[in-house]
């Protein structure tokens, strides 16, 4: 399984043709206390770069973009009752949704962990 990152501060775990998507530790740190998260319903068709989910903190509401195209397998329903999971475990229990990749070539050009760290350090 390999993990990719985007400049929009999302992480993507890829296992076969299934990708799990969430926001990075840096992103949750910047947003502050998360008070609401809206995840896509299974079956939703996502287009790379389109709106996929919503995350709201005491400071602001932000869109989470689909880092790759595909069909949503499931959203993380646990976030509805406990949005704080995004703060406490952003790159684990705080995942947003899983999707079936429709075009694995879209993964090319995404960052690996080292490249993302360098990207964040440069901000």
């Amino acid at each position: 399984m390999s993990r990719y990152f985007t400049e929009e501060h999302e992480w993507i775990d890829v296992d076969g043709d299934v990708a799990t998507v969430g926001i990075t530790d840096y992103a949750q740190e910047q947003l502050g206390d998360i008070v609401f998260a809206e995840v896509p319903a299974s079956g939703t068709q996502l287009k790379k770069g389109g709106d996929a989910a919503v995350v709201e903190s005491v400071k602001a509401a932000s869109d989470v973009y689909a880092p790759v195209s595909g069909e949503v397998l499931e959203g993380n329903d646990a976030l509805e009752g406990d949005p704080a999971l995004v703060n406490s475990d952003p790159e684990g229990e705080g995942w947003f949704f899983k999707l079936t990749l429709s075009d694995p070539s879209e993964l090319e050009g995404l960052m690996n962990a080292a490249a993302y760290k360098a990207f964040v350090d440069g901000l």
Binding site: V35, K59, A60
Partner: protein, 523 residues
Amino acid sequence: MSGINESGWRPEMSRVGEASAPATFTGNRALMLEEPLIFEIGTIGTTGVDLADSPKVAARLGGLERNRDIGLPGLSEGEAVRHYTRLSRQNYAIDLGFFPLGSCTMKHNPRLNEKVARMKGFADVHPLAPAQSVQGALAVIHELAHWLVTLTGMEAVAMSPKAGAHGELCGILAIRAALEAKGDARSVVLCPESAHGTNPATAAFAGYETENIPATPDGRVDLEALQARLGPDVAAVMITNPNTCGLFERDLKTISDMVHAAGGFVYCDGANFNAIVGRVRPGDLGVDAMHINLHKTFSTPHGGGGPGSGPVVLSKALAPFAPLPFVEKRGEEFVLIEEESAGDHHGSSFGRMTAFHGQMGMFTRALSYILSHGADGLRQVAEDAVLNANYLLRSLEDVLDAPFAASGPCMHEALFSDKGLADGFSTLDIAKGLIDEGYHPMTVYFPLVVHGAMLIEPTETESKAVMDQFIGAMRSVAGRAKAGDVLLKSAPHFAPRRRLDETLAARKPVLVWQEPEQAVAAE
């Protein structure tokens, strides 16, 4: 009943530095009165008005009639008046002090406006009164409409939208109607990253997909990125000018030409029109639709003091699609056009935004403001608003990071970031510190393109003395945030309530009052 609301959080009442002050029996501090919720002081059986018991009647609701009390608190008239008066004393208002909320334009509401709005002929009109009996009120709408199209250089104005976002919707619906009339089904509306959140919300509500336009490092629309995105699917571009970074979009005319060449329309968010009124006519910059917040630019009350009002000016291309009703002058008579009529220039109206004319009480106030200033006075409104904001920007840029200060003068508002504060200190701490200094905080964390944004808008109605005192307070609080003063982390210390737990309030909001016993049981 207990004086404490145990159904939800309530911050503890102790105050730093006041350990030696005696506790009072009532919890009051001289004229700072503690006030429980109305449910905690009301009792069943008390009432302000004595009415005879109603006679028993047979219910005819098929068993759906209410069978128990709904639990409304009962108070005498005197108790109710005191309750709300006490609460009002804990509020902050433009009539109490400087209200530096950026983007909101919290300017003084002149009392002359209020006097005019209270004249019987305006205050007591009914929206269904025959047109002959309300000629004066219709004349006010017509005269105000004339001023708005003249000041903006546009073709027509829809007076009925009731606030800024309602005006945005009106403008976007007119754009959609114009495109549909040509059989042109475009699906995308573009908004800059610094847009008011209402812009993409409006476009989405009107059925469009929204996409961001990136900004240049100096805080303006990126022309190359916009040109690259324009195409046959773009219905409109929504742009705020001056933008929410407090900067004038110098290239708006070029942007309009690009958008028009691509077959789209330009919507201008006119929330910041107060910075350019009398100086720039949006019509000359190629704008197709723009709402005007009468409650900002033209000084009518808002922020809890009164309803908004958002007339929308329209270009020649959009004017035929404007919503009804319209006031027109025919000979010496003012008539209200309420229905589409063939051959009339309202034949393509997309419908109605409201049941009646719009916010009549705001129209009288806005026209009073316009007539009492005159054309030269309105020009000075814009000049003074910009002068005041630049005075604040330059008086604070050495203590707070001002990300766009180097790109020249700002317009009507000054923008700062949280860069350079001590570790662990944030924009929120500065906002809370300002409460202790006796000010309503500035706008925080907006626009989103600036980290820890603080947006300050003094408006033209504040004097140099008021701003100098505020600058002193800001310099002191900013200095404490940079020095890492731990007492600032727990501010406000002197407000009726200490720092509220905004996270818990948002995650577990208590929206319905419960009897304290039930609340404990539910925990």
